[in-house]
């Protein structure tokens, strides 16, 4: 690993984004719009948004970052720029972490905007501190980034990359505990949900909403972080200097 090359890569990814203001706008504003839509939907039912608003905060950054990362890195794999990079001293881990750092910064901005919007505009109420909600949103966005990096290795076209979303993301949403508490699920599905990172993200959010502290919040969050790191390691293993 080399810090200069890592930061150069992150800087390069951010400059690329800077030339694409529409994507930045979508990345920063889209989650807030969706949260707003949700809040509006339940505006007549007392307490429902407080119950679902938190998990929604965990979902949208995850989905948005998954899509953006998988498509951007796929573009790099396909355009010949990755092949050029593989002939330079850039380490594979610098490449992956550079991307993670750049999109992580965007995720931080996105989380600040989305959580602020949910709380101050839509009136989301939680018992736990706000910064913890923001932290979960950032970690989720990073998880989306990491899985997106990994998914891009298995897609040959942008079309396939988009198709990975229903395959990798939707089951996690369905089994994550948003639609039904996980302990009420059929045993097999409950067991499966124990192996999905988003379940722990939603557990964390629920703990924060309920005002729990310490291990109840940070235990599941650490599991999400572990999944994220695992996905980053796998993603850098899928990069090959030599290709057929």
């Amino acid at each position: 690993m080399n810090v200069i090359r890592l930061f150069a890569t992150a800087g390069r990814v951010l400059s690329q984004l800077r030339h694409d203001p529409r994507s930045i706008a979508l990345m920063l504003i889209a989650p807030s719009l969706l949260v707003g839509l949700f809040a509006w939907l339940f505006s007549d039912q007392e307490g429902v948004f407080d119950q679902f608003g938190g998990p929604i905060l965990a979902l949208f950054p995850f989905i948005v970052m998954f899509l953006i990362t998988s498509i951007t890195t796929l573009r790099e794999r396909r355009s010949g720029t990755l092949e050029r990079l593989m002939t330079t001293p850039l380490a594979k881990s610098d490449f992956i972490l550079g991307y993670a750092l750049a999109f992580g910064l965007m995720a931080l901005l996105q989380a600040v905007i989305t959580v602020s919007f949910a709380v101050f505009v839509c009136g989301l109420e939680t018992d736990g501190p706000l910064w913890q909600l923001g932290l979960v949103a950032v970690v989720d966005a990073l998880l989306g980034t990491a899985l997106g990096l990994l998914a891009s290795a298995f897609a040959q076209t942008e079309f396939q990359a988009v198709q990975f979303m229903p395959l990798l993301v939707f089951p996690q949403i369905i089994l994550g505990g948003l639609f039904m508490p996980r302990d009420q699920m059929p045993d097999v599905l409950h067991a499966i949900s124990d192996w999905l990172p988003l379940s722990y993200a939603i557990d964390t959010i629920n703990a924060v909403s309920a005002g729990e502290e310490g291990w109840d919040v940070f235990g599941p969050l650490l599991i999400v972080v572990a999944f994220m790191l695992g996905a980053l390691v796998l993603a850098s293993l899928t990069l090959r200097r030599r290709t057929p």
Binding site: H19, G80, R84
Partner: protein, 254 residues
């Protein structure tokens, strides 16, 4: 052996899909010269170049570059590769592209402006690559290959789609680099570019069918221009192939 040759390829076998692309290829590329790699498209030029810069998965054989195994870590500072399609970031400016590659290679700050000037793009340095013409794009790609002051520069069809004036300019730069001791391997399917090289490798269907010089090529075939010379060589090669097949058949008594 290492002193006068920059690249030694020995018994290289490469498989792409089910097809065996190279079946025991031997090539030697001299140091400090411009070697032209010529041949019809699909003959294996890109695969050979990829093997030399160490991004091609090879089945067996050795590729030694500047005294080291191809693709080894120390070579990543010393060897530069310009891919066939202009592989620059479309959504960055020329300068941003070069700064990034420069940072990866630890090139001095002024190297960026120097190579931009070298490829004649100083006026457009702050334009997005996506807004450039095809020829300008190839020059950006070339500048990216030169920014780290490499000892060996491998360029895959760098002049494709360029007008004759620009092509002449670029070949002038290749010559300048060679005079500074840089080794260049440049592929092309434009035969008249052959005359600008010091050494020529002609490839066909995954084999080197001639390792010669521009003068040698014309003298050997008696042709007046490199196009005709190349066609003559291909014909000769085909004839030989038929002959060996025929003699093989006779040996086995079929």
């Amino acid at each position: 052996m290492m002193n006068n040759s920059s690249v030694e390829v020995s018994q290289l076998r490469v498989r792409r899909g089910k097809m065996r692309f190279f079946d025991g290829l031997d090539v030697s590329i001299p140091r400090g010269q411009i070697t032209g790699l010529l041949g019809p498209s699909g003959c294996g030029k890109t695969t050979l170049m990829r093997s030399i810069v160490g991004v091609q998965r090879v089945e067996s054989g050795t590729v030694t570059v500047l005294g080291e195994p191809a693709g080894s870590r120390v070579l990543r500072h010393r060897v530069a590769y310009g891919t066939q399609d202009a592989s620059a970031y479309d959504d960055l400016t020329i300068r941003q592209n070069l700064r990034y590659v420069g940072a990866l290679l630890g090139a001095p700050r002024d190297a960026v402006d120097r190579v931009i000037a070298d490829v004649g793009l100083t006026g457009q340095a702050d334009q997005l690559v996506s807004s450039l013409s095809g020829g300008e794009g190839s020059r950006v790609s070339l500048a990216m290959a030169l920014v780290g002051s490499p000892e060996l520069v491998v360029l895959d069809e760098p002049t494709v789609g360029l007008d004759p004036l620009l092509r002449a300019e670029l070949w002038g730069q290749f010559r300048g680099l060679a005079e500074r001791g840089v080794t260049l391997l440049v592929s092309s399917h434009v035969m008249d570019e052959a005359l600008r090289c010091d050494r020529l490798l002609l490839m066909r269907a995954g084999r080197i069918i001639a390792d010669t010089t521009p003068k040698g090529l014309l003298a050997d075939t008696g042709a007046e221009d490199p196009d005709a010379a190349f066609l003559a060589l291909i014909e000769r090669d085909q004839q030989q192939h038929l002959d060996t097949r025929r003699s093989r058949r006779e040996e086995t008594g079929e």
